[in-house]
């Protein structure tokens, strides 16, 4: 809640951080190992890989771009799906309409998505968080209506198809396992890129601006330019998600950028943990599982999703990812109380942080 929280954290939690830092790589290896093994342990890879695996990956990448913006800039954007969709349309247009190969299509798609994100930033960067949410939602619908109508560009509701996966002789992405690994690679790169940017001086400045724009402006930072750059960067990440999406679906039509898809990604981000870059993949896996299997036991799948969504917001605002942290905190506290009660007064406030405000409040300007 208070401005300097994130800046304080590294020192305040020095001891526990080093502990976690020492072991965190084990967790990473486990997850990555599981992800790598995934095609070989499931019984029906032709179902699990596209429907759960690849779909979770691109949902996760797009949700990660949303989480990045929320966490480091304090803006909740509902245009990330639209940006991914623009990137996907870029790929589709080049490959289907212009009949050009994928190595031209992919850069064009990513560029289109990133430029679109830049334009969104120009329109919306000056606004307060809640405004930003509404404006990005409305902008997303502008593009949806456009995509549904513009026969010359998007082929309206029919969409662009087929968008064939590239075959690179040695690596044939038509093989679903290979494609899964390619998507996994894209997700890992996006994740590392987000982490790298967040830890750079640029990322530090962003967090400073998020917490106290006035102070940063007084220090001579061009607050708006930083925000625009961050929104553009997150659009770049979303665009990569869009490329994976379009090759996975093998077609692109307006449904990809509909309100429903936007809500899907928001649900993924919130359930996974809207403050956690990695948590989105948990959210994505949960959503795809629900999507595929929930109707086996209930007709009211959307109600179920909505209830989970609200419960997460009410009781675990840091998402499923945050539940891990909540458990760990409870554990820490008990251990601490057992060993030396009343020690380290600074530990307590930082330890309670993650539950308090997973959703960053916009209080810029």
């Amino acid at each position: 809640m208070t401005a300097p929280e994130t800046l304080v954290t590294p020192t305040a939690t020095g001891r526990s951080r080093s502990l976690w830092a020492r072991y965190s790589w084990i967790g990473w290896v486990v997850v990555l190992g599981l992800a790598l093994l995934f095609p070989y342990v499931v019984d029906r890879p032709r179902f699990w890989l596209p429907n759960i695996g690849v779909r979770s990956l691109w949902l996760g990448i797009i949700a990660m771009s949303l989480v990045f913006l929320n966490r480091y800039v304090g803006l909740l954007s509902l245009a990330q799906v639209t940006i991914a969709g623009i990137s996907a349309y870029g790929v589709g247009y080049v490959m289907v309409t212009l009949d050009q190969p994928f190595f031209i299509a992919i850069p064009v798609g990513i560029t289109a998505g990133t430029v679109a994100g830049f334009l969104v930033a120009l329109i919306a960067a000056r606004t307060k968080a809640i405004y930003f949410l509404m404006i990005t939602l409305a902008l997303g619908q502008v593009f949806y209506s456009y995509a549904s109508q513009a026969i010359e560009v998007t082929n309206a509701r029919r969409g662009l198809a087929p968008i064939k996966k590239p075959d690179l002789e040695i690596i044939n992405l038509n093989d679903i396992t290979t494609f899964y690994f390619a998507a996994l690679l894209a997700a890992v790169i996006c994740f590392l890129l987000c982490r790298y940017v967040a830890a750079s001086t640029f990322g530090m400045a962003l967090q400073g601006i998020r917490d106290s724009p006035e102070r940063m402006a007084a220090l001579g930072y061009k607050v708006n330019r930083y925000r625009i750059a961050a929104i553009t960067f997150s659009a770049f990440i979303a665009s990569i998600g869009g490329v994976v999406l379009v090759f996975d679906r093998a077609q692109i039509d307006p449904d990809v950028v509909s309100l429903g898809s936007t809500l899907d990604v928001l649900v993924v981000a919130v359930i996974g943990g809207i403050g956690s870059l990695g948590g989105v993949f948990i959210g994505a896996i949960i959503l795809t599982l629900l999507d595929n299997f929930a109707q086996d036991f209930t007709d009211r799948y959307m109600t179920l999703t909505g209830i989970v969504f609200i419960l997460v917001l009410l009781f675990a605002p840091a998402g499923i990812a945050g539940i891990g942290a909540q458990v760990k905190r409870a554990f820490d506290r008990r251990r601490k109380n057992a060993s030396d009660p009343g020690d380290d007064p600074q530990q307590e406030p930082t330890a309670t942080q993650p539950t308090g405000e997973a959703i960053t409040k916009g209080k810029q300007q």
Binding site: E5, T6, T9, P10, T13, R17, A21, Y23, S24, G27, V30, V31, A35, V41, V42, D43, R44, R46, F47, W48, P50, N51, I52, R55, S148, Q149, I151, A156, R157, R158, A161, R249, A250, Q251, D253, D255, S258, G260, G273, G275, S276, G278, G279, I282, N292, Q295, A318, A321, G322, G324, A325, V327, K328, T350, Q353, P354, G356, E357, A358, T360
Partner: protein
């Protein structure tokens, strides 16, 4: 306050690992359970795609009613039965009418539930996606539900069959009727701006223009347009009739505003403009709808095919049935019954990559409740089409059968948005 960089990461990963383990565990459990349809050889699994969410959410109920009628006739139920000594298992997958949802569910049916035959889907958007998918799984046979884009049977999918007309064929005979019998010379077109109305209106106007008619204006409105007051004001004074290429809520909206705005021109309806589903939403549209002529695969009252009434009687006993069958239940029934006939012909033998079944389906020729159904070389049905007029009989709207155009074949023109005549 957000999760800080490193704290909470390992717990996050731990949770993630549990989820992933759960996923894989879950899947292995699944495989033990269903054993695989092909391997056993005694069970034929049919996966049904129908809409259970969104505006077409009643599609699933209609699909089940239709399938139940067909299955009960051979001693089965909505969930399966027996053909030629093979047991039939029917698995349902609900979609929301969008292509993405259809892609997810059709993959689930084929890859996870291991179905031999996919039956469906409902909407055109879904249909185009399912055909694209069918091309990638040649070992599975696809029988279309009610998706009607012209192009679907022109994609060259050898394993894809459609036992009803496409949306251009649904207008077959109406253009001539409007020009010759009704004497409409100039028609103004109001239609939704997407592929279904393009094909539907294209089918009508190509015939109407060929007969000598003239289109004196087109309004292509975005789907979901609810306010037609301004569009109605655009209709030129010398217009003889208005073509209404709208469906569902948009059609109901247009009709009710045609009443309030005092439109007294006769209407020519697209195939879904005055469907049961549009009329059963009790908007006050009678005075606008009366006199409307329309074409489509649904026969009106007074249709004298002896196969028709038994079907209607069996339909209305189903749970969730409408007072009379909608376009979806009729198309689903005809298509499913075609599939049943094909399976009966080969005694449920799916060997040799379904070769026998596909030959049987491709050469099917039977008298359905809506007339003779035979197949062309694109595995597209040649069907009867109905011309209907909406009449007011004692306060209730009745869709009266005017005539049938029999043996309507596919025109193979995929229409796009057009101005004037297509």
């Amino acid at each position: 306050m957000m999760l800080n960089n490193w704290k909470g990461l390992v717990p996050t990963l731990a949770v993630g690992a549990v989820v992933v383990l759960g996923v894989t565990g879950c899947s292995t459990g699944g495989s033990g359970g269903d054993g695989g349809g092909d391997a056993g050889g005694d069970t034929i699994k049919i996966g049904v795609l129908a809409t259970s969410e969104g505006n077409l959410a009643f599609g699933m109920g209609e699909a089940k009613a239709a399938i139940a009628v067909a299955m009960e006739a051979i001693g089965g139920t909505v969930d399966g039965g027996e053909i030629g000594g093979k047991s039939i298992e029917i698995i349902y997958a609900g979609t929301d009418g969008t292509s993405g949802s259809a892609q997810t569910q059709v993959k689930k049916l084929v890859e996870n539930d291991d179905v031999d035959i996919v039956f469906g889907p409902v909407s055109g958007d879904e249909g185009e996606a399912v055909v694209q998918y069918a091309l990638t799984v040649p070992e599975v046979t696809f029988v279309n539900g009610s998706a009607s884009p012209v192009g679907m049977t022109l994609e060259g999918a050898e394993n894809f069959f459609r036992f009803h007309g496409d949306s251009a064929m649904w207008m077959g005979g109406l253009g001539d009727y409007a020009y010759d019998e009704k004497g409409y010379k100039k028609i103004y077109s109001i239609a939704e701006d997407y592929s279904f109305p393009y094909d539907n209106a294209g089918g009508f106007f190509s015939e109407f223009c060929a007969a000598g008619g003239e289109v004196n204006g087109n309004s292509w409105v975005p789907v979901g347009t609810t306010d037609y007051a301004t569009i109605i004001a655009q209709i030129p004074a010398d217009t003889d009739a208005v073509y209404v290429g709208l469906g569902g809520a948009d059609a109901a909206s247009f009709l009710s505003q045609a009443v309030t705005n005092g439109v007294d021109l006769p209407l020519v309806g697209g195939s879904i403009a005055v469907d049961t589903t549009a009329l059963s939403g009790d908007a006050n549209i009678a005075s606008a709808a009366v006199g409307t002529i329309t074409g489509g695969p649904v026969p009106g009252a007074g249709y004298d095919n002896p196969e028709w009434q038994p079907f209607v009687d069996a339909y209305v006993t189903q749970p969730d049935a409408f007072p009379s069958p909608s376009i979806f239940s009729i198309l689903y029934y005809n298509s499913f019954q075609s599939l049943v006939l094909g399976l009966q012909e080969v005694d449920g033998d799916l060997s040799d990559g379904h070769a026998g079944l596909r030959d049987a389906l491709g050469s099917l020729d039977w008298n359905s409740p809506t007339g003779q159904i035979s197949m062309d070389e694109n595995r597209q049905a040649i069907v009867d089409n109905f011309l209907i007029e909406v009449l007011d009989e004692g306060g209730t709207l009745v869709q009266k059968n005017i005539s049938e155009a029999s043996g309507v074949t596919q025109g193979t023109t995929v229409y796009d948005r057009f101005e004037g005549c297509p």
